[in-house]
């Protein structure tokens, strides 16, 4: 069956369905004594919530907390510096995905590198990098891989294609991160700046795209061990409203479960073929630093030792700095990513820090919470 573009959105923005969920949530919430703080882990959800003005339809007792689920926002400056340094090598074409080229590191953004003459390109699909590699045999093509479980299989597929087709000039800088570990960190850890034992998270809306690949099973630990219900949700306004309703019902009925709202694509086990492809090439890193959050054990992937000949981090080890870099003092991206502060609580929000001149990463990416507040948040 041919997929039409209309199928991507049709039906999931139906005003009647949205209003009907709003009224159901209102009725159920009346039965609750205390408010519910729902963390939507993914920046895609943050944007849906803000773009479609969903808080305007919900009772005051429903409070959204924006989570760390934006692959661009969580990239620490030192790794953006890696991308910058690699891009500035004479014989290199640096390839990455969308918004990554706008994030400032300590030396500037990839956009700045491009302005200085570096060959930086963005692709919609990692597999488009194959053509760049074949068209430029005298250059080294470095794929700066970013993203959560959603984009990891595409990088794995690119590696697989490069190996099978014998492409010798394609290398990888891997920055893939995983969602459950950062969710655990937000509940478990104690930061020196903020007392994150006092996190306000009562429930999670889990990103559906991640679970299409990894399955819903990755969230089982949250209701079981942490007593936090999770609903795996789609990204359309009807999806998010239904997910909020499902969570509210759990609280009213005194349940704490993992539920799937996005049943049209998510299963408990996920996409096994994609998972096998990921396992073939990647293994867990011991530690990965998340911008604003800090080092989280086992929260990211790296290339397996046997593929180190493809690993740009190893090949360029001598020129890539290892020291950590502090974020701008006025930027509270860390607190925002932890769900402790909202973007408009930041002193530089919308003044010094704007999408055209971002100070922090949450303002850079179109998935970032600050960018969403800046773009859509005016009336709310």
């Amino acid at each position: 069956m041919e997929l039409k573009l209309k199928d991507l959105y049709d039906g999931f923005r139906d005003p009647k369905a949205i209003k009907s969920f709003a009224s159901l949530i209102e009725k159920e919430t009346e039965k609750l004594d205390t408010p519910i703080n729902i963390m939507e882990v993914c920046g895609g959800h943050t944007h849906t919530i803000m773009k479609y003005g969903l808080p305007q339809l919900l009772p005051e007792k429903i409070n959204f907390i924006h989570g760390p689920g934006c692959p661009v926002c969580i990239m620490p400056k030192e790794r953006i510096d890696h991308a910058y340094i690699l891009a500035m090598q004479e014989d290199v074409i640096l390839v990455t995905l969308g918004d990554m080229i706008k994030v400032p590191g300590s030396k500037g953004s990839l956009q700045n590198a491009r302005a200085k003459g570096a060959d930086v390109r963005f692709v919609y699909s990692p597999l488009d990098t194959v053509k760049i590699a074949l068209d430029n045999p005298d250059k080294k093509i470095l794929f700066f891989a970013i993203g959560f479980e959603t984009t990891t299989p595409m990088t794995a597929a690119l590696i697989d294609t490069a190996i099978k087709r014998g492409i010798k000039n394609l290398f990888f800088h891997i920055n893939h991160v995983t969602v459950p570990e950062v969710m655990k960190e937000l509940i478990d850890s104690r930061d020196i700046h903020v007392n994150s034992y006092d996190n306000r998270i009562d429930a999670f809306i889990g990103p559906a795209h991640v679970s299409v690949i990894a399955g819903s099973k990755i969230y089982e630990v949250f209701p079981e061990r942490y007593n936090k219900p999770v609903v795996v949700s789609g990204f359309e306004p009807v999806d998010v409203m239904e997910s909020v309703y499902m969570l509210v019902r759990q609280f009213v009925q005194n349940r704490c479960e993992l539920e799937i709202q996005y049943k049209r694509s998510v299963t408990k086990e996920g996409n096994i073929a994609a998972q096998k492809m990921i396992d073939r090439y990647f293994e867990k890193r011991e530690l990965f630093k998340w911008r604003g959050i800090g080092n989280i054990p086992k929260s990211a992937l790296k290339l397996k030792e046997e593929f180190s000949y493809l690993d740009a981090e190893k090949i360029y080890e001598d020129i890539l700095p290892k020291d950590e870099i502090e974020d701008h003092k006025l930027c509270i991206c860390g607190d925002i990513l932890r769900g402790i502060a909202k973007p408009n609580e930041c002193s530089v929000f919308g003044t010094v820090c704007k999408p055209s001149s971002p100070l922090g990463s949450c303002m850079v990416s179109s998935e970032g919470a600050c960018a969403a507040y800046y773009k859509y948040g005016g009336l709310i």
Partner: protein
């Protein structure tokens, strides 16, 4: 047979240069004024009252790809300048044409572009009266850059971004975002289940009818770079009014919606090249709509909102489910989202 291409010699101001101009540009664009081949065009009075006003505008075109679904850089360079004149209530009359061509450009393609120009000039009733051609070494320009400057005869006075008032209706002349989406699709090789074409077209024929019918228009603007969002924000700021848009009323083609979904764009921010926004006085709303809809490229015209005083200098988008948000100016480079 080897293909003919533009050579650096054809930009030398000498024999080869003259040959290129004669064989390509004059062949298609020649008229009484242009064929005099002077340093500057001397424009004879053209039925102007002494009190008549002239509109004068210029624009440069550097689109990539130069041939896209629904048009090419030639059509675009005439539409763009003529539309700028039309939006000020002026009938396009005389245009200059300045072309910068990269060495190696195919003559056949150059001629195709010039033919497109001629076709579009005829639609507007305008002509090229002076021009310039430069050829630059390979790598100094991206294929071809075109600048057109236009003079138009003002047929309706008082159109201005500062003249919009509460009570006016906001109309768009057709579905929005086509040009931006089509260029993106062409540039990035996104194949669609149905073909998406740019809206690239001349607007003077529609505008002429609106003026003839004496429609009470406060302002008109073709929603080019920055899209409808940029036009509405500029109007709201300059007229110090609030423009409220009903999202459900805004016509957007399904292919455009799909591209926006895939890449994380908003159709309001995408460029148009043959779509204009009008602020129309209440008494003439239906009449204006009927006139626009009588044209093939205006059949999707719609009233999309109204002007109020609620949030001065702001554009408010109202959803079908009762929520509101501000529509801001687009910022930065349009980039696809990551996941």
């Amino acid at each position: 047979m080897s293909r003919k291409t533009v050579t650096l010699a054809q930009g030398n101001g000498g024999e080869e240069n003259a040959e290129l101009i004669n064989k390509i540009f004059y062949r298609h664009l020649k008229n009484e004024t242009l064929k005099r081949n002077e340093d500057a065009a001397i424009i004879e009075p053209f039925n102007m009252q002494l009190t008549s006003k002239i509109a004068f505008t210029t624009d440069s075109f550097t689109v990539s790809p130069i041939f896209f679904s629904g048009g090419d850089i030639g059509k675009l360079s005439i539409c763009g300048t003529c539309n700028d004149l039309a939006m000020m209530g002026a009938k396009p009359k005389f245009l200059s044409l300045s072309v910068i061509v990269e060495e190696g450009f195919e003559i056949r393609e150059l001629e195709k572009i010039v033919r497109s120009m001629k076709k579009e000039l005829d639609i507007n009733g305008a002509k090229i009266v002076c021009g310039d051609t430069k050829v630059v070494p390979k790598g100094s320009a991206d294929k071809i850059f075109v600048n057109t400057t236009g003079i138009g005869e003002v047929q309706k006075n008082g159109l201005s971004s500062s003249s919009i008032k509460a009570g006016d209706a906001i109309i768009v002349s057709r579905d929005i975002g086509r040009h931006g989406a089509a260029i993106f699709a062409d540039r990035e090789g996104i194949e669609l289940s149905s073909s998406l074409k740019s809206d690239c077209a001349s607007l003077w024929p529609i505008v002429e009818k609106l003026i003839e019918a004496n429609i009470g228009i406060s302002a008109m603007r073709d929603a080019t770079r920055g899209g409808v969002a940029a036009v509405l924000n500029e109007w709201a700021r300059q007229s110090e009014v609030c423009i409220e848009i009903e999202e459900a009323s805004v016509p957007i083609a399904e292919e455009v919606k799909g591209i926006c979904e895939l890449l994380g764009f908003e159709a309001y921010n995408l460029a148009n090249e043959g779509t204009f926004v009008l602020a129309v006085e209440e008494k003439d709303i239906q009449k204006a709509l009927e006139i626009i809809q009588s044209f093939e490229n205006g059949k999707n015209a719609a009233i999309i909102g109204s002007v109020t005083g609620e949030y001065p200098k702001k554009v408010v988008l109202k959803s079908e489910w009762g929520t509101k948000r501000f529509l801001d100016l687009p910022t930065g480079e349009l980039l696809p989202r990551i996941c």
